[in-house]
Amino acid sequence: MSWLLRKDLMILGRSRLLLTLLIVYPVVIALLLGFAISRSPARPRVAIVDESAPGETLQVGGQHLPVSRYVHELFSQVQSLAVPTRAQAVEKVDSGAALAAVILPPGLAARLSSNENQAQLEVLYNGNALQQSIARTAIEAALAQANLGFSAQIQGAAREVIGTLLTGGRLSGFAGSEELLGLERIPTMLGAIAARQPRASDRRSLERIDAFAGFAAQNLTLASRVLATIGQPIRVDSVLLHGRRTPLDDFAVVVAVSLSMMLLCVLLAAGGVALEREEHTLARLLRGRRVDRSGAGAPGGALITREGLLAEKTLLAAASAFVVAFAMLAGIGAFVALDWSRVALWLGALALSALALSALGVAIGALAREVRAASLLALLATLPLAFLALVPSASVAGGFYDVIEAVSFVFPFKAALEALDTAVNGATPAIGLSLAHLAVLTVVFAALARLGLREVE
């Protein structure tokens, strides 16, 4: 087997295009992915038309909040492109100079103050369905952030008014106004006045005013807390049922490595077996030899057994993919903080994943008669597998998802992805289950490959 392995390495070394692809492809993928996930996403370029009157303000209690503050909040969330008119904004979106345009209509403050009409912004965007989706998501996120910021300012102003009503003092924004009494001070003052009143009926009236002032003070205290609540009515507290949460960046690393490994394993293994058929050497390698009387009619002692040949092709593909995948992980590790203390688990997951994926490759190669057919078959089989393994459960109908799960279960990509995610990110409860699954799939696909090599001519 070692001579066959040496032969395959020599052939691989002389296939410069293939060798270049094997080295360059993972490096490029690793670099692209590394750069993509280590840079924060660019803020969307948005044209903003502010049609509100200069100095227009929103009055909250005694405070006047300028509408320009909202515009400022919005500008900070996007890469803003100030344009004076709606027509120019449309032109910017049409030409692609801006992803979208936001138009702040005149009278925004009046609408906000009216309590009758919700203030409205106009958002313009263009492009195909995907661009529209991206633009809408980006703009809605930016607007939500701006709304939240502006809402916090309004809440701050409202809380100040409530605070003054409770404790007394001067309201900012009311220049020259007298100092307000404050509801909390009323009971003390009224108590003193009531004590000096001779008539019982007057004292009862004062006591009623006192009770009302106390009630008002209590409820305004509550209102202050309610204001904070309605600013962000529901706070989300996430709980993951199993294991550790995988950051999206780290999961992207695992997907990229798994996908590269699958392509390498399957293409190399399938191509390796198919090449033996294409060169007509399979029969020469597997035919019996040195058979004498005792072995009549039962050829034996082949140059290499079918199992040996399949093991050699599987090991070559798996070892190549293992090295490349580990190099990819190490390369991406320069951009993303990976937990190197788990490196033993990485190696285990990479090794078994590479073996299972290569076993799938030799099974495909055993079916094909030539390298081109094997490569085509390998691509046709692997790309849908990758797609299916990444379909989230809630995104398709229940019955169809069961089918997807079943398909993903009988091929090694999803198991490899899960094993690697567990090894790198500690994502799922136990790596042993994934590794056992991969080991079983290795045996199953190797057996299928052996079946495919039953006839060599």
Binding site: E279, H280, R290, V291, R293, G295, A296, G297, L303, E455
Partner: protein
């Protein structure tokens, strides 16, 4: 002449049941091969020549019967399409198979085969860049690298020009002189007439004739006394023989086709 290979009641069936397109490629084929014999296997397309050679070379397993190698060392096999690694050089191909054959001195075996096939000056060339003739020489050299007592060649000269063919037969003749038993299939009957000491005629998987070219020739008017023999005579004799003896020309119950005046096929192939 010692026997090196015995084939007995050999049968090969492809596919499952008859209704699913099963085909009987070989049926009750028996013969012996002696050391230093050069035997040609002839017959029309689909007669079972390649199947017979593949089973003898242990590429395929028979459905029935047996192939017994009387001497250790097995059979050197030369497939119709050269079975070589085109991205390895001539020497690398030879060395790989010498190593896989677990020869004691693989490099010496490579040097010997390069010298015998006249390919020493092309030893470092990639096989993919060789001409068809040279590729066939490497193909033969691979079959002989372990110095087997029997050589099975499937249409070895089919892709060669006349001068390459001549060199190939000179090479094979030298092996035969060194007591290697050679069994080759061919469509070129004149080659069988010129080089073979024995001819096996196969048709529809049955062995119809096993004898010398002269005996096959004698079975037809071209072989009768007084008839002047020419190069095409054996071919004409074969065609006539097949017309008369082929299972294709016999009725389903095995009787000869009366219109053609054919005789019933004789599995032993003697005239």
């Amino acid at each position: 002449m010692s026997t090196v290979l015995s084939v007995s009641a050999l049968a090969k069936r492809y596919g499952g049941s008859r209704s699913r397109g099963a085909r009987q490629a070989l049926q009750d084929v028996s013969f012996r091969l002696g050391a230093g014999e050069l035997v040609a296997v002839v017959g029309p397309n689909g007669a079972g020549k390649t199947t017979l050679l593949s089973i003898i070379a242990a590429v395929q397993t028979p459905s029935g019967g047996s192939v017994v190698w009387e001497q250790a060392g097995g059979v050197g096999w030369v497939p119709q399409t050269p079975a070589l690694y085109s991205r390895l050089t001539v020497a690398e191909n030879l060395e790989l198979f010498a190593r896989l054959e677990r020869l004691r001195e693989p490099r010496a075996a490579v040097a010997r085969m390069l010298a015998q096939t006249g390919l020493a000056h092309r030893a470092g060339d990639l096989v993919g860049r060789l001409s068809g003739g040279n590729r066939q020489r490497v193909n033969v050299a691979l079959a002989l690298i372990a110095d087997p007592p029997v050589l099975a060649l499937d249409e070895p000269s089919a892709a060669l020009d006349p001068s390459q063919r001549e060199r190939l037969w000179e090479f094979i003749a030298a092996r035969v002189a060194a007591d290697t038993a050679v069994l080759f299939s061919t469509h070129n009957v004149s080659e069988a007439q010129r080089y073979a000491s024995r001819v096996l005629v196969l048709d529809e998987g049955r062995l119809l004739f096993d004898g010398s070219p002269a005996a096959l020739l004698a079975s037809s008017p071209e072989g009768e006394p007084g008839h002047e023999r020419g190069a095409g005579d054996l071919e004409r004799a074969l065609v006539r023989f097949l017309r008369e003896r082929s299972p294709r020309s016999t009725a389903p119950d095995g009787r000869a086709d009366a219109r053609r005046g054919g005789a019933r096929a004789h599995p032993e192939g003697t005239l």
